[in-house]
Symmetry: C2
Subunit: 193 residues, 2 copies
């Protein structure tokens, strides 16, 4: 069904409101128009490009981080509810990949996930004790990795944080982190949602 320009732009606004990290490519596909059309729509509607939208959202989360300096988080934190859940975005550049294969090096995905696991802790200090990690699919230069951290258990002495990372909808990484924190928790367990 062919939409009018007005209809498309209204739906475009709604879509970006609901899913702020959608790319121009994904929008073009969704609305069955060219990427150039999407860019012109965004210009007319004064919607900043994706990179800028991420930066604006990340800026709002910046001061929530407690357990490390915000600039020490690897990737941009776009959502953060302390002791509950957090999301960060890392764009894979040339500096993150093996020269020979263009495949992202594991320690960058680990660093994104581990620093998010630290950032989600509502405490002045949090240290990683153990981690079990799985690299599920290869990540390449140009990919945008979205890491989602979830506190799944909070004992007196430690907190378990699960981090699952995705490129588009494909899972690329999973890590279960056991974190020590400086102040023991009162709650003995956080229920799973």
């Amino acid at each position: 069904m062919k939409r009018t320009k007005k209809e498309r732009q209204n739906q475009l606004l709604e879509t970006i409101e609901e899913t702020p990290f959608v790319t121009d490519e994904e929008l073009a596909e969704k609305f069955n128009v060219s990427i150039q059309t999407i860019r012109l729509d965004r210009l007319e509607l004064s919607i900043p490009e994706l990179r800028e939208r991420i930066r604006l959202v990340a800026k709002k989360q910046f001061n929530k981080v407690k357990a490390l300096d915000p600039e020490e988080v690897i990737g941009e934190v776009v959502e953060l509810n302390l002791d509950d859940e957090a999301i960060s975005i890392l764009d894979i550049g040339a500096e993150h990949v093996f020269a020979r294969t263009g495949i992202a090096r594991g320690h960058h995905l680990f660093a994104q996930a581990n620093s998010l696991a630290v950032a989600v802790i509502n405490d002045e200090m949090a240290l990683t004790a153990k981690a079990e990690i799985t690299f599920k699919n290869q990540v390449h230069q140009g990919d945008r990795v979205m890491a989602k951290a979830k506190v799944t258990r909070a004992e007196r002495e430690f907190t378990i944080v699960e981090v699952n990372s995705y490129v588009k909808r494909q899972q690329v990484f999973r890590g279960v982190f056991m974190m020590y924190r400086s102040r023991p928790q009162k709650k003995s367990k956080i229920s799973n949602p």
Copy 2:
């Protein structure tokens, strides 16, 4: 027992021959003299400082690395026997620690260990599938971390590499890495030593 200077210098030469990565501090303690005396001894004997000794040994290992570009290894590889074992050294600088605590960030210890686990593989390509890691003790700025990798199992499809990292004699990190390689191995199992 007081040694003559000649005796001490002979024993110093032997000690550095046997344990090339010994520090001036450790030598001073061993021979019960000042660090300054050790430095003068090294000057007279034309023994380069530790940093330079590491660099010289690392240079010899440089061309042995197959599964990644040698400069992609995090740390200096000072020993490498492909599909068997490897050792690397990483000096923890300000860029490796949390600003607030001066404690080394986990992903740097992980990067040293993981890249050594890749480097030890005798293959054009090796990728990490899974890892179980433990941070056993805190590492601080100024510490020198020695990572020791050992191939403990080589199945057709994957190779298991265990990496244990130490600061002086204290273990600080342990990682068990399951690595995929591009060419399946013929040997079904490497015996443990």
